[in-house]
């Protein structure tokens, strides 16, 4: 017989073997999860890269929080570069009684310099119509829907009206807001001033788009860099890299979640492989006696297994493609763009993850099997680990790393996450081990009845089965409950806990001469004390007289504080929601008070001198107090608050946070018309939008963790299958003592349901403990734990375990008692 024939014959025999069922199931789940996550990540990545080429609408962008000085424009002209100005800021637009917050993007006629701007009817591909003419606006369909308007209608904006020219379909800069918060409105820069939308010092994003030949761009960069004051230069290449990074992170993030599935599936596979080889050791010893080489046996048995596994893996790939639809569905309402369909690569990678992992986890057992010495026939139980098996472990580890890398695109972090998962499992295992030890010593009351007593004893008597089942169920359920129930509950409680006085509207860009009129108007709306705070934008130019260098700080946030503009405010009184934790509020001399985390990041202490440059004025002050800020308060808070005398008169605007009765919200429209330059931001709706995004990610991740639960069930199946032989024998023994079928079944059901319930409680407790930690450390709320979770998780665990038991242990209780006289 040729090796191929015997290989094929072996494979056909394996199909009938029951103990391989959990392996198949585990492989299927692992490949499905891997393929699903990879396909999902690929779709995100290709959607991002489709946009990245024309991301900026330019080759180079100079951006800042204040008007770009004219010197840069003339510098661009000197180099012969095309240039175009863009201003972006949030604003509220109206149509009749309806209003909506939009992101206004005001452009010049030549926008964009690179990439495509498409607009047209709401449905359809649209065309490159260019920016609207003055007096017109292009609106995203979302905004039109919430205003109840159509193309050709007029909308109120600032102190005039604009006609809707078309629906805004694709904007080169859209990629920057891959996940977008507010719909965009495109209009002409010329209209901004006419409509009175921005006053001096208003908060907006200003951009100067530049395009031209590479040498000219390079010369511009060299000339512009020394002149930058709070502005940033972004090259198209940088933007592409940023997007690629987002794609990579998506894959790593979801890949790491899918590692949980791989971990559990691996456990199931390794368990079954060991059982499988134990059952075949004698047959292999015979083959060795007959003169078959180790290699030949390894190839034959391994090859047969692979042949058997391949269809399961292929089915997993198909399932994975269905799964990615669920993953995308979770985020459907959040993504600002259509995702391209997935390509074939995830299928190949998913299959590779599955088969490489499968090889890795069966290899040690198979090597040990093929190395069974012929002597094993004569001397049973001579359990010396063959050298070949020792060599198999590093190889298996290598294959595991490869599988992790294929899945997450991350070698090191993936391995760390895998190990972390192992440690977590070991922790849960220790808890179960302790409980089982206790259970063994517990005198079981006779009131419990035979089935329960026997079931509980069986739990302790088969610690490995119990351990594997409860820990894997516990891990998977913990992830699902934490994500699906507890996190939502936490967010809901946090939101309720915000209290009735929490501000729900921000008013931006209030001009100094408007503060009184605006306060009066707000009073009429029922806002007694609007919290109005003046602020200016400046840069941290010196600490104790020295220019700070971001490279000197370990914390990457330091660079943000140093390179970017900082909002500064000034106040005579300590603002609400602030607490002094060191130093004193205003004493003498030029003073500044710094927020705790800002001071920590930059390593600042009381007495240090800070210099902030606002426009062409430098303000220096000593740190005389450090504040703890309750950022949850939804009040306007600042890292840097100066004593008013220290800053003197600066070009500034004010920002107000107010709590508005929902009933008087429509009357805010009048206020917005009266003060067209003031942007009114609805925090409630932004918060809802942010929470919708979080919810979308939770939903997508939940899909992955349901796969982890399926993998946990595979471990359950494997652990129960391993115990099946012993259980069958024990059932026969009990029946020989005179136990009825119902009695044996009863104790089995009791054992399985307690085992599953224990796993459920373990998972539920892990989720609740994590929630309590999150509540205390992150949300800082008094958490009312949903304790109903524990019985629910216990019931779910018990149901899953009973179902798994039904599948692999069916017929055990009906074992003919005469079996006890056979074998042994």
């Amino acid at each position: 017989m040729s090796p191929w024939q015997s290989w094929w014959r072996q494979a056909r025999r394996e199909i009938r073997s029951r103990e391989l069922r959990p392996v198949l199931a585990a492989l299927l789940v692992a490949v499905a999860a891997a393929t699903g996550v990879l396909a999902f990540a690929e779709r995100i990545e290709s959607a991002l890269s489709a946009r990245s080429g024309e991301l900026l609408g330019a080759d180079l962008v100079l951006s800042g929080r204040s008007e770009i000085p004219a010197q840069f424009t003339s510098l661009a002209e000197n180099q012969g570069l095309d240039h175009s100005r863009v201003v972006a800021f949030p604003s509220v637009i109206f149509a009749g009684e309806n209003s909506t917050l939009v992101e206004i993007k005001a452009v010049q006629a030549d926008y964009p310099l690179r990439g495509v701007l498409r607009s047209g009817p709401v449905e359809g591909p649209g065309a490159a119509l260019g920016p609207p003419a003055p007096g017109e606006v292009d609106l995203e369909a979302r905004a039109m829907a919430s205003l109840g308007v159509k193309i050709g209608d007029l909308i109120d904006i600032g102190n005039d009206r604009l006609r809707i020219r078309a629906a805004l379909l694709e904007d080169p800069e859209g990629g920057a807001s891959f996940v977008n918060l507010a719909p965009r409105a495109l209009l002409r820069v010329e209209d901004v001033e006419r409509l009175g939308l921005l006053g001096p010092g208003s908060r907006a994003f200003y951009r100067l788009l530049l395009a031209g030949p590479a040498p000219a761009l390079a010369r511009f960069e060299t000339a512009a860099e020394p002149l930058l004051k709070g502005q940033r230069l972004t090259r198209a290449r940088d933007a592409e890299q940023q997007l690629a990074e987002v794609g990579r992170q998506t894959r790593a993030f979801f890949g790491l979640a899918a590692l949980a599935v791989l971990w559990l599936a691996a456990l199931a596979i390794a368990l079954c492989a060991r059982r499988y080889t134990e059952a075949r050791r004698e047959a292999v010893a015979q083959m060795r006696c007959m003169g078959l080489s180790q290699r030949r046996i390894l190839l034959q048995v391994g090859g047969a297994l692979a042949l058997y596994a391949l269809p399961a893996a292929l089915l997993g790939v198909a399932l994975g493609y269905a799964l990615q639809l669920l993953l995308v569905a979770g985020l459907a309402g959040v993504l600002a763009t259509e995702l391209p369909p997935p390509g074939p690569l995830p299928a190949v990678l998913g299959l590779a993850v599955g088969m490489v992992g499968f090889a890795g986890f069966t290899l040690p057992a198979l090597t040990s099997l093929s190395a069974t010495p012929p002597m094993a026939l004569l001397r049973r139980g001579s359990e010396q680990m063959p050298r070949a098996e020792l060599l198999a472990y590093p190889m298996a580890l290598g294959l595991l790393c490869l599988a992790i890398f294929l899945l997450t695109g991350e070698g090191r972090i993936g391995l760390i996450a895998f190990l972390a998962f192992t440690i977590l499992a070991a922790l849960l295992a220790a808890v179960v081990w302790f409980l089982l030890g206790r259970l063994r010593k517990l005198p079981l009351s006779r009131q419990l009845g035979f089935a329960w007593r026997q079931g509980l004893r069986g739990l302790a008597a088969r610690p490995v089965t119990t351990l594997l089942s409860t820990v894997s169920l516990g891990l998977a359920l913990a992830a699902i409950l934490l994500l699906g129930v507890v996190s939502r509950d936490l967010v809901a409680q946090w939101r309720i806990g915000l209290g009735p006085d929490t501000p729900n509207r921000f008013l931006l860009n209030i001009q100094p001469d408007q503060t009184e009129a605006l306060s009066a108007a707000l009073k009429e709306l029922g806002v007694a004390n609007p919290d109005l705070r003046p602020f200016a934008v400046g840069r941290l130019s010196a600490i104790n007289g020295k220019t700070p260098n971001p490279d000197d700080y370990a914390d990457p946030r330091a660079a943000r504080f140093i390179d970017r503009n900082q909002n500064i405010s000034w106040s005579q009184e300590l603002p609400a929601a602030n607490r002094i934790i060191a130093g004193q509020w205003w004493t003498s001399g030029p003073e500044v008070s710094v927020a705790e985390n800002w001071a920590q990041t930059l390593g600042l202490k009381l007495g240090d001198e800070l210099t902030i440059t606002v426009g062409d004025r430098a303000v220096s002050a000593r740190i005389t107090s450090i504040r703890a800020v309750d950022w949850d308060s939804f009040r306007v808070n600042f890292f840097l608050v100066f004593k008013p005398e220290t800053v003197g008169s600066l070009e500034s605007t004010s920002i107000a946070s107010v709590r508005l009765d929902p009933a008087s919200a429509p009357r805010l429209n009048e206020l917005a018309r009266q003060f067209p330059n003031v942007s009114i931001i609805d925090i409630d709706s932004i918060l809802s939008r942010v929470l919708a995004i979080v919810e979308g990610v939770i939903q997508s991740l939940s899909v992955v963790f349901w796969c982890a639960l399926a993998a946990a069930v595979c471990v359950l199946l494997a652990a129960l299958a391993v115990s099946a032989g012993a259980r069958r024998f024990e059932a026969a023994l009990w029946r020989s003592f005179g136990a009825s079928r119902a009695t044996v079944r009863g104790s089995l059901l009791a054992e399985l349901s307690v085992c599953g319930a224990l796993g459920g409680i373990l998972g539920g407790t892990a989720a609740l403990v994590t929630a309590a930690l999150l509540a205390a450390q992150v949300f800082e709320i008094d958490y009312r734990a949903p304790f109903w979770l524990l019985p629910a998780a216990a019931a779910l665990g018990a149901a899953l375990t009973l179902a798994a038991g039904w599948w692999v242990l069916r017929g055990v209780s009906g074992q003919a008692p005469a079996e006890v006289l056979k074998g042994g």
Binding site: R446, A726, G738, P817, A818, L821, K822, G824
Partner: protein, 201 residues
């Protein structure tokens, strides 16, 4: 056909040895007598009641608390201590004094000091003594032993069979023994020899 025209009767407190070559049908006869299996034809009575026609569960109920077994490979529950193993049939029968009785039974076989040992921590002879304690603890009317000394060396085997007969006398338990060992068979009140499923004269 495995067994053919086998006819025997055993009174309370008496002992019977079934001997014969491998494959002669000894074990099959034992499992039929104990009601572990049912014959394709013929009649078996236990405690004056016919086993024929009873379901497996009904036959199990007949054994409950009244029949004990000692097996060649001991067949202890591997994850239960010696005490728990002896308690198992007592608890199954719903005896309130399961633990006291089990302790006494282990004491009687000389294992009073090894109550908390697992089977794998015990020698073969000790394991078989636990099995004997387990079989006698419920004070059965009838005890079946399948090659009770088959897996033990000669000396240990002799000790175990002494114990078996001692308890048989003390409890007035009827004993059915399957064995290869002529010495063991000779200690029984009656001996039947099977050859290819038939009783030899």
């Amino acid at each position: 056909m495995i067994l053919d025209r086998v006819s025997l009767a055993l009174a309370a407190g008496r002992s019977l040895a079934i001997v014969g070559a491998s494959g002669s049908g000894k074990t099959t006869l034992l499992s039929l007598l104990a009601g572990l299996d049912h014959p394709s034809e013929g009649r078996i009575e236990m405690f004056g009641q016919a086993l024929t026609g009873l379901s497996e569960d009904q036959r199990a109920a007949m054994r409950l608390g009244r029949v004990g077994f000692v097996f060649q490979s001991f067949h202890l529950l591997p994850n239960y201590t010696a005490l728990e193993n002896v308690m198992a049939p007592l608890e199954l029968a719903g005896r309130d004094d399961a633990e006291t009785r089990a302790r006494a039974a282990l004491q009687a076989v000389g294992l009073g000091e090894r109550l908390d040992h697992l089977p794998r921590q015990l020698s073969g002879g000790e394991q078989q003594r636990v099995a004997i304690a387990r079989a006698f603890a419920p004070q059965p009317l009838l005890l079946f032993a399948d090659e009770p000394t088959g897996n033990l060396d000669q000396r240990t085997g002799a000790k175990v069979s002494d114990l078996l007969f001692e308890l048989n006398r003390a409890h007035q338990t009827a004993l059915v023994l399957v064995t290869h060992d002529p010495a063991l068979a000779a200690r029984c009140g009656e001996v039947i020899r099977l050859d290819q499923g038939r009783v030899q004269a």
